[in-house]
């Protein structure tokens, strides 16, 4: 197992996650480095999504510890942590209401800031007044990314965000991830697509099935 450095962003120590009677993740010693894009691959059931959900604290380890910048996640205030470590899900989850209302879920944004955010995720400013639930899959996922960016996260967790998108929309999202990484946001990107992993990843993390070991 390769250690990414002395101060990993996330460190998993003897972690198991058991839910519904099944082991969802097992990571004895796994480090994730800060910066760039780390692509996480592995077969279905290997625990890729669970790993990301642990990083965002939507899931807590059944045993073991997850450290964030050297501090156990259990000792960190969860809401502030989630704002720092944003997450985009496999399926876009638009909230009922307009796109602008979605972007204002946790941030007090003026119209200019809404337009700026939309532009950043390659959406036209006039999308702001559209119903979020009526956007196409690609638009919706980009809107969800914009919504996540409203908390100005230093880490972005992306759980197979392009799996339901057409190639063009997927490419747009990849470009956005690259641009975020270049501006200093650490991106953890889960994918099933080897070509995408090769194209996008600065580092690669493969989780094997059964979830016994993980290698960087």
């Amino acid at each position: 197992m390769t250690e990414p450095g002395p101060n990993p962003l996330f460190a998993f120590r003897d972690v198991t996650v058991v839910a519904g009677g099944h082991t969802r993740l097992r990571a004895r010693s796994l480090d994730i480095a800060s910066g760039g894009i780390t692509v996480i691959t592995g077969p279905s059931g290997a625990g890729k999504s669970t790993l990301l959900r642990c990083c965002n604290r939507l899931v807590a380890p059944t045993t073991g510890r997850v450290l964030y910048r050297g501090t156990s996640l259990a000792d960190i205030e969860p809401h502030e942590h989630r704002r720092q470590v944003g997450m985009v899900f496999q399926q876009p989850v638009p909230f009922p209401g307009t796109v602008a209302e979605n972007l204002r879920t946790v941030a007090d944004l003026d119209d200019g800031e809404v337009s700026e955010l939309l532009e950043r995720v390659a959406l036209a400013p006039n999308v702001a007044q559209r119903e979020a639930t009526e956007l196409s899959g690609g638009e919706s996922q980009r809107m969800c990314l914009a919504r996540t960016l409203t908390t100005r996260p230093s880490v972005l967790l992306a759980d197979e965000p392009t799996s339901s998108l057409d190639p063009e929309a997927a490419e747009t999202l990849e470009r956005l991830a690259r641009s975020l990484a270049e501006s200093g946001t650490t991106v953890l990107w889960v994918t099933h697509d080897p070509a995408q992993a090769k194209r996008l990843g600065d580092r690669h993390l493969r989780l094997d099935q059964p979830p016994e070991t993980a290698q960087l």
Binding site: A60, H79, R82, R83, V93, T105, V106, R147
Partner: protein, 263 residues
């Protein structure tokens, strides 16, 4: 107060004759092979036994000379029994008993406080027990519905709730939409009942008063106060239940817990 001009309670013979209607229900069950004949007989006998027992106790409790504290003890017993009933009807709901106890207690205090505090009804044993019965009894089904719909809504929209959590919102703020839907669903039947009263049906209290010889205009005033009482009570119980339950759906660090499957 209400002027009573004559009592028309059926005689025992009359009551026995009313049993013809139970026989009618039995006939329908037999004719259509519904297989509920036993249940109908059991329900009819049980209702008679329960009402006879309650009538006996009420005779003592609501007597004008009886101490008011007996009535309040009765109300407490009703609230506790109703909370047990909620737990029995919705066993999958976590902490159903304490939450229902809180909901019924809150609505009893608020509703009866308004009724007696503003002098809408005179604070007598004869008023306390039946009005508390209206409050608790009519809120029961809505409370069960609110509890089950809260679990159902959060379960159905788990992805949306977690998307809110992932943005750093608290558990309570992450389920606002689901709570609104659950409370609205639980309230709508009572709102519809309130809207249709007098047009589609005459409620029991009003029918009882008119049969007891009270002038219809007075019966209407009583019924209207009772309808408002029930509407307010249902709104309070469903809201307290949904908000209380929402706090039980999250762990201490605001992760969405594994939700129970509806039974």
């Amino acid at each position: 107060m209400i002027a009573q001009t004559g009592a028309t309670a059926p005689s025992l013979w009359g009551l026995a004759a009313a049993g013809i209607l139970v026989a009618l229900a039995l006939g329908v069950s037999a004719w259509r092979h519904l297989g509920v004949g036993g249940s109908i007989v059991w329900a009819a006998v049980r209702a008679a036994a329960q009402l006879a027992a309650i009538g006996g106790v009420l005779t003592v409790v609501v007597d004008d000379a009886a101490p008011l504290v007996w009535s309040w003890c009765w109300v407490v017993a009703m609230v506790v029994f109703a909370a047990f009933t909620v737990r029995r009807r919705a066993p999958e709901v976590p902490a159903a008993f304490p939450l229902a106890l809180l909901a019924f207690s809150a609505t009893s205090v608020i509703s009866l406080g308004v009724l007696f505090g503003f002098g809408i009804f005179e604070l007598t044993p004869r008023a306390v027990v039946p009005l508390a019965g209206m409050v608790v009894g009519n809120s029961l089904s809505s409370t069960v519905l609110a509890a089950r719909r809260t679990i159902g809504e959060v379960s159905d929209h788990r992805d949306r709730v977690e998307a809110h959590l992932a943005l750093g919102l608290t558990g309570r703020n992450s389920v606002q939409r689901e709570l609104r839907t659950a409370v609205r669903t639980a309230l709508i039947p009572q709102i519809e009942t309130t809207k249709s009263v007098g047009l589609v049906f005459l409620p029991g209290a009003m029918v009882g008063l008119i049969l007891a010889g009270v002038e219809p205009a007075e019966a209407v005033r009583v019924q209207l106060a009772v309808m408002y009482l029930i509407l307010g009570s249902v709104a309070v119980t469903t809201t307290v239940m949904a908000i209380g339950l929402s706090t039980r759906l999250f762990t201490a660090d605001d992760r969405l817990a594994e939700l129970p499957a509806p039974e």
